[in-house]
């Protein structure tokens, strides 16, 4: 037993070395009190130990205990201890017993993706609990899990979950290779995994769904997708996913067809509006007011009469304000957040217009942009789309409508170049199995 490691570990206050003695036998236990569950240690080691009279007897007890095995001298002692094992020394032999203390296993309420009439609970922060939730909702023998530890230092537990009958083996193989290549020190969130396994450094549009909803995960598993469950976060990663997945809310499955489709159309309109509206405003005001009706062009000019700046400054000013507001209300503690929104939204907007900094139409435009942006169901996509309007604003400021349309063209092209685990990300799937078709396989 490498004593140097033990000496090093003894420096930390939560490392315990306990010597047990029942008059006939002596044994040493090494463990981290912060990581191990005392109940397990008492039940599996301390209680049987009091009854043992010989070394053989105690070894028998250890061998028959659950998740206890002889410690392999080759493997790393420190990492075994740090992953929540107890090391038992009896004479010169070493045994390890898994006695990890469960973390926060209580599933929390879904806050990022809420549904109106669907399951209300999200995943918990504990990977095993999450696996339990998945298994309960997907009781099928072909559901396989593979375990990885990610991060050189953090050694975060990560489970790859998939339905072996339905998954695409190429996707699986590809993902395995990528996961094994992760070299970061600390891995703590699923979004980080996506960054780490994407080749290019400059990443804009998310190509994997991050979700906290067990029902979404189970639906995706049934479609042959791979899910990564990471310990310490309620968010899981689903791959491959295509653009339409990001635009679908789980409510789409639980609502009638017509309602669902209407809502999906609404979301796409909102997507288009939030991307193009600021650029459209600039193009109409500064380049081609003759495009709209003359009455509207006049009232637009009238509302801008007090504003001395060109339209792009107005737009950038208001967008800065609204982005700062959104960011502030995200980062602030929840109780102050609502105050910030009220102050910013109501007072500043009105005052800015009266001060002649922005036109009143611009206030409407800004709020429409912000509201439309929140219609996108998956948060990661909503953030990505927030950025999309800025290149268009620059192009529209330089080239007017030509810039706007050219920018839209460029964004379309950029997004259709993306792939998600080998699946083409953005295109029409005509006559192919629907990628987000939740009614797939249902005959009625």
């Amino acid at each position: 037993m490498p004593l140097s490691t033990i000496e090093l570990l003894k420096k930390s206050a939560d490392f315990k070395h306990e010597a047990l003695d029942n008059d006939k036998l002596q044994t040493d236990l090494f463990y981290f009190a912060s990581l191990c569950d005392m109940k397990v240690i008492r039940k599996e080691i301390a209680h049987p130990f009091t009854l043992c009279s010989s070394v053989q007897e105690f070894e028998q007890v250890l061998n028959s205990a659950m998740s206890c095995s002889p410690f392999d001298e080759q493997s790393d002692l420190a990492s075994t201890l740090l992953s929540g094992h107890v090391i038992v020394r009896i004479e010169s032999k070493l045994y390890k017993l898994e006695a990890v203390k469960p973390g926060n296993i209580k599933p929390s309420e879904a806050v990022m993706e809420t549904t109106i009439q669907g399951p209300q609970l999200a995943f918990s922060e504990d990977a095993e609990t999450n696996l339990m939730i998945i298994r309960k909702k997907y009781p099928f023998a072909s559901l396989l899990t593979e375990k990885y530890s990610l991060g050189k230092v953090s050694q975060t537990k990560c489970y790859m979950v998939y339905d072996n009958d339905k998954v695409d083996p190429n996707v699986l193989q590809d993902l395995k290779c990528k996961l094994e290549k992760i070299e970061a020190d600390v891995v703590q969130a699923t979004g980080q995994i996506e960054s780490l396994i994407t080749k290019s450094k400059i990443r804009w549009i998310p190509t994997m769904i991050i979700t906290e909803r067990p029902d979404r995960v189970v639906f995706n598993l049934a479609q042959g997708k791979v899910v990564l469950v990471l310990d310490g976060t309620p968010f899981t990663l689903v791959t491959p996913s295509v653009f339409y997945d990001f635009m679908s809310a789980m409510d789409d499955v639980y609502q009638p067809f017509v309602v669902t489709r209407a809502l999906v159309v609404l979301r796409y309109i909102a997507l288009l509006v939030t991307i193009t509206l600021p650029a459209l405003y600039i193009s109409i005001v500064s380049y081609n007011p003759e495009i709209v009706r003359v009455q509207f062009a006049l009232s637009l000019a009238g509302s801008r009469a007090a504003v001395p700046y060109p339209s792009f400054i107005e737009v950038l000013f208001m967008l800065f304000l609204i982005e700062a507001l959104v960011e502030a209300s995200l980062r602030l503690p929840r109780y102050i957040g609502s105050t910030a929104t009220t102050v910013g939204g109501l007072i500043l907007g009105q005052a800015a217009q009266q001060a002649g900094l922005v036109s009143s139409v611009m206030i409407i435009v800004t709020s429409v942009i912000a509201i439309s942006n929140f219609l996108i169901p998956i948060n990661a996509m909503s953030f990505a789309i927030r950025i999309a309007k800025y290149p268009l604003i620059i192009l529209a400021s330089c080239f007017g409508f030509v810039g706007l349309v050219a920018g839209l063209f460029a964004i379309t092209l950029y997004v259709s170049r993306l792939e998600s685990s080998g699946l083409r990300y953005f295109r029409f799937y005509i006559g192919e199995p629907a990628v987000s078709g939740y009614k797939e396989g249902d005959k009625y």
Partner: protein, 363 residues
């Protein structure tokens, strides 16, 4: 997958029946343009049929791979480079013409060279993409814009000012001998199928289905593109307009629309179509040229730049310079000449592909 074939076909049709083709044809409306169109429908559809059947047989192969098996490098390379340049020219002409149009109708205060630079820049960037990405984007752009195109067509056809008598005048001129320039121009509308000379690579086991659509689509779009301007602008006056179709679109208004003048809707749609067309033609052109070059990358000041970027950049720079030097009149003269060369090259390319597939069958 044969829908991708039709996207390219329809895109080419929409682009070419708006820019130079109606202008060239309408100038000759009393001298055999109508008979040229009728003849072009037959010839164009025939070429398309021959080409697609040959391509169906040469499964999953692009032009470079086909030629590789039958010709030595010394013959193959000049041929491929020539075709590459022809493809590039098709895109560049549209780019230059459209930069003139946008300068005139949307941004009259702007320096035309800056607009040209904007288009060339985006064309350069877009053409370096993988063909699959471009085709995905093409599908989305075309399907999103198609309803608007149909709406504009319907709106112009149902315009109250549309005068069918102007069209009846032309019935007297149907049996004039078709002229070479009008024939070359009229067949251009059908050329969209030719893009599959390269994109055939992407689709293994693809059979182009519903080929009866080719003459049907061709005929209807062709007639709309020629007859609507005549009906709205008048059979005599129609040749006086520089951008026939833009002026035609400007005759119509949407009474209750957010955008009142249809010409703006028309221009927005065509900015998208043009950029797409440029991306596709330059992409094919650069890939054809690149198939004769063995290197993938070149070192420019210690940076590895892919050859594709270099070739597309070359296209963009040449287009930019030519665009700065050209004006409407010279461009039209050039296009008229170029269309004849193109017609001959197209027939040659189709013959070549048909011969190659025939040899494959009997080898």
């Amino acid at each position: 997958m044969s829908r991708y074939f039709y996207y390219l076909f329809v895109l080419n049709m929409f682009i070419n029946t708006i820019f130079f083709v109606p202008r060239i044809l309408l100038a000759k409306r009393y001298d055999g343009a109508i008979s040229s169109i009728l003849l072009a429908i037959v010839i164009g559809s025939l070429l398309a049929f021959l080409f697609t059947s040959a391509m169906n047989r040469l499964n999953g192969q692009g032009l470079p791979e086909m030629l590789e098996k039958s010709f030595p490098f010394a013959i193959r390379a000049p041929l491929l480079i020539y075709f590459g340049i022809m493809w590039c020219a098709a895109g560049s002409i549209i780019l230059i013409a459209f930069s003139h149009i946008t300068q005139r109708y949307l941004n009259p205060d702007m320096n035309p060279n800056i607009l040209l630079l904007c288009y060339c820049g985006i064309g350069w960037w877009a053409a370096t993409f993988r063909p699959m990405a471009i085709l995905n984007a093409a599908e989305i752009i075309i399907l999103v814009q198609l309803p608007f195109v149909l709406y504009i067509m319907m709106k112009t056809l149902l315009n109250r000012e549309f005068d069918w008598d102007e069209l009846r005048v032309l019935t007297d001129y149907i049996w004039r001998m078709p002229s070479w320039t009008s024939l070359a121009a009229a067949t251009y509308g059908f050329t969209g199928y030719i893009n599959f000379a390269l994109y055939n690579r992407l689709y293994k086991n693809m059979k182009v289905k519903h080929r009866w659509l080719i003459p049907l689509l061709g005929t209807s779009v062709m007639f709309v593109s020629i007859f609507v301007p005549i009906g709205l602008l008048g059979v005599d006056a129609v040749a006086d307009y520089l951008y026939t179709w833009i002026s035609t679109a400007d005759t119509t208004r949407i009474r209750f629309g957010f955008v009142e003048r249809i010409v703006y809707l028309f221009l927005f749609i065509y900015i998208g179509f043009c950029l797409l067309f440029i991306a596709i033609t330059w992409n094919i052109g650069s890939l054809l040229v690149l198939s004769c070059v063995k290197r993938d990358n070149v070192k420019i000041r210690k940076h590895n730049v892919s050859m594709k970027t270099v070739v597309c950049g070359l296209f963009a720079v040449v287009t930019l310079v030519l665009g700065m030097l050209s004006n409407d009149k010279r461009l039209l003269e050039f296009v008229t000449q170029w269309l004849s060369v193109r017609f001959v090259s197209e027939v040659f390319l189709v013959a070549l592909v048909v011969w190659l597939s025939w040899r494959r069958k009997h080898a």
